[in-house]
Subunit: 338 residues, 2 copies
Amino acid sequence: MTTMQDVARQAGVSLSTVSYALNGNRPIAQETRDRIQAAIDELGYRRNAAARSLAARRSHVLALVLPTVAGGLSGTLGEFAESAAQTARDAGYHLVIWPFDRREHDEVRDLVGQGQADGVLLMEVALDDARVEALASSGVPFTLIGRTRDPEGTSYVDIDFERTITDAVEHLADLGHRTVGFVNHSQRSEVELYGPTVRARDAFLAAAEERHLAPVHVTCDESPVAGRRAALEILVRAPRTTAIITMNESATFGVTSLLRERRIEIPRDMSVVAVVTSSEVGAMYDPPLTSYLAPGRTLGRYAVEELLAALGGPPRRDAPRLVACALAPGGSTGPAPS
Amino acid sequence: MTTMQDVARQAGVSLSTVSYALNGNRPIAQETRDRIQAAIDELGYRRNAAARSLAARRSHVLALVLPTVAGGLSGTLGEFAESAAQTARDAGYHLVIWPFDRREHDEVRDLVGQGQADGVLLMEVALDDARVEALASSGVPFTLIGRTRDPEGTSYVDIDFERTITDAVEHLADLGHRTVGFVNHSQRSEVELYGPTVRARDAFLAAAEERHLAPVHVTCDESPVAGRRAALEILVRAPRTTAIITMNESATFGVTSLLRERRIEIPRDMSVVAVVTSSEVGAMYDPPLTSYLAPGRTLGRYAVEELLAALGGPPRRDAPRLVACALAPGGSTGPAPS
DNA sequence: TTGAAAGCGATACCAT
DNA sequence: ATGGTATCGCTTTCAA
C-alpha cells in the first residue's frame, strides 16, 4: 500500500503539503501541486478513507434510513435513492442504505454514535415519529423525507400532496365532473396518522368543497383485490360518480378491473387519475393512465442538498422543500358523461 | 466524546482488555466482561468506526454497485438490495450503494483503492463486462449478480434462467399448447450479449425443441407499446400461437392489451405466463398473471454470503449459486383451446 | 508557501 | 486472563 508519506517523498515535499494539496484548503504553488500530482499518478496513490475520517472526525457518509417495506423499494423509492446517491457523490459523500423500520430507532442511534454517518436521511416519516426524536437527541444533522405534524424547525423535503391533489381535482372539475371518488392508502395508515394519507384526504375534501364537487373518500389496502372493493364502495355510496382519483398503486388496477367487469368504460363512462405514481405504472394500463408523477429524483436531490447545508455546505437559498407531482397526460380521463 | 480509554478507566481494566472484550477474540473472565459492559452502558460508549477501520485495516463495508437504470431500482432490484443489506448487517457489515454504470469502472476502482469497502457486489453483469476485470485486477473480493460468459473462477449468484424458462415451457406443454411465443428483452440487449436475454432465448428454444413445440421468439423494448408490437409479431408469424411467455415487465401489459383489443381472451384463447417478475406486477392484471417470481431476497442473501465467504467468513458449503423463479399460479393460463 | 509534529481512537503484537 | 504500547494513515495546529 502506498501512503501519503510515500507521495511526499516522491514529490520531494513534506507530508503536510501533500495533505493540503489534496483537500485544497491552503494555497499551494502550482509547481508544487504539479509535482505532487505527478507523484500520485506515478504511484497510483489513493487517500485512505479510514485514516482520513479518523483525523478529520468526519465520515463523508450520508445514511438513508428506510423501512423494510413489503415488496422492497418501490420504483419511486428507488429513484429517490439513486438521485440522492448521485447528489451526495458529487459533493464528496457516499450514500449508505440503512434498512430499519420505525421501531428500530436505537439501531440508528448506535450507528450514528459510531460515527458511521455525518448526516441522516429519514424516509417514510409518520406525523408522529419516534425516530425523529431519537435523531434530534443524538445530535446528527438529519433531513426528513416527509413531515412530522409540526415540521417547523426540522429540515425536510416532501411531496406537495395538497397541491397535487388539488391539481387533480381541478383537472376533473374542469372536465365537468361533479362527483369524484378518491382511493387513499389503508385505513391503518390513516389511523396511524401517516402523513400522505392524512394530507391527501384533507386536501381532497377541501378541493372538492372549493369546486362544489361531491367527494367520496375511501381508504384501501395496498392490493388489487382491495382496489376492487374500494371501487365497489364508491359506486355503491355514490352511483353518480364519474371520476376516481387513486393514490394507491397496487389498488389502481383493482379499480380498473372492477370497472371493466361492470362494463364501465374508461374514459367514456369514468375518468381515472392516478396520483403520486410512476410513468411505468401508468403505462401498464390501456389506455395509459392520466397520472401525477412522484418527483422522486427531485426530492432525492433536494433532500441531500438540505442535509449538506446543515452540514455546513452551501446553503439552499429559497430552494423549495415541497414538490408537487407533475401531470403526465394519459388516456384515462375525459369529459364527464352527460 | 467517550473513548475506549474512558471505558477502561471506568471499569478498572486496561484499554486492550476492553478491545478484546468487544471483538471477542480472546477469552475474557465473565466478571471482567460484566464490569466492562456496565461501564459501556453507563458512559453510553460506542466504538468509533473510523479508528476501528484504520487499525484493523477493514472498513466493514460492502458495496453494491448498480447501474443508474432508467426508472431507478425496479421492485426486484429493491428486494435484492434490502435483503443483501439485512444479511450484511447480521454479519457486522454495512451495505453501501454505489450507483455506477458499466463505463464508470475506474470510479469503482478509486473507491476500492481508498479502502471504502472490503468487498463488492456487482449487479447487471453483461456476458463481457469491463467492470469485472477492473475489480479482479484491483484485488478486492467481489461477487457478481449475474454471470460473465465463463463464470468459472469468479464468485457469483444468479437467477436460474434455464430452469425457469424450461419450467414455464413445460407448464404450457403439459396444458397442451403446441405453439408458444416468447417476449424477451430488447434486441439491443441481445446484441450486447446481456446474460439474461441470451440465456433465456437459448433455454426457450431448447425447451421447445425438447417438447416438440413450435417456438416464436421475439425481442422487445421495455415498454407497453413495444409489447403490443411484439404480440402482433407473434400472431403474424404464427397465427396458431396459443400461449405467450413474457420476460419483460413493461411489455407484458402491452401484450395483454393487444390481445384484449383483438378479442383474444385470456386464458380461454391464449395463455400468458410472466417470468422473472414480481407478484405485485402479476396482481395488477385481471385475472392475476401466472408468474414465475424473481427470487430477489434469496439472491441478495446468497450474494452476501458468497462475498463474506471470500472475505474469510464461514464458507458456503454447497449453497446454490443459481436460484430458479418460483411459480405463482394465477388465472392467465389454461388448457390449449381445441 | 512550506514543514514538523501532535493527535485522532481503535487493533493486535509482545509480555507477564 | 490481563496489560502495555507501537501502529494504522491521515488532518491540522504551530512555526518558520
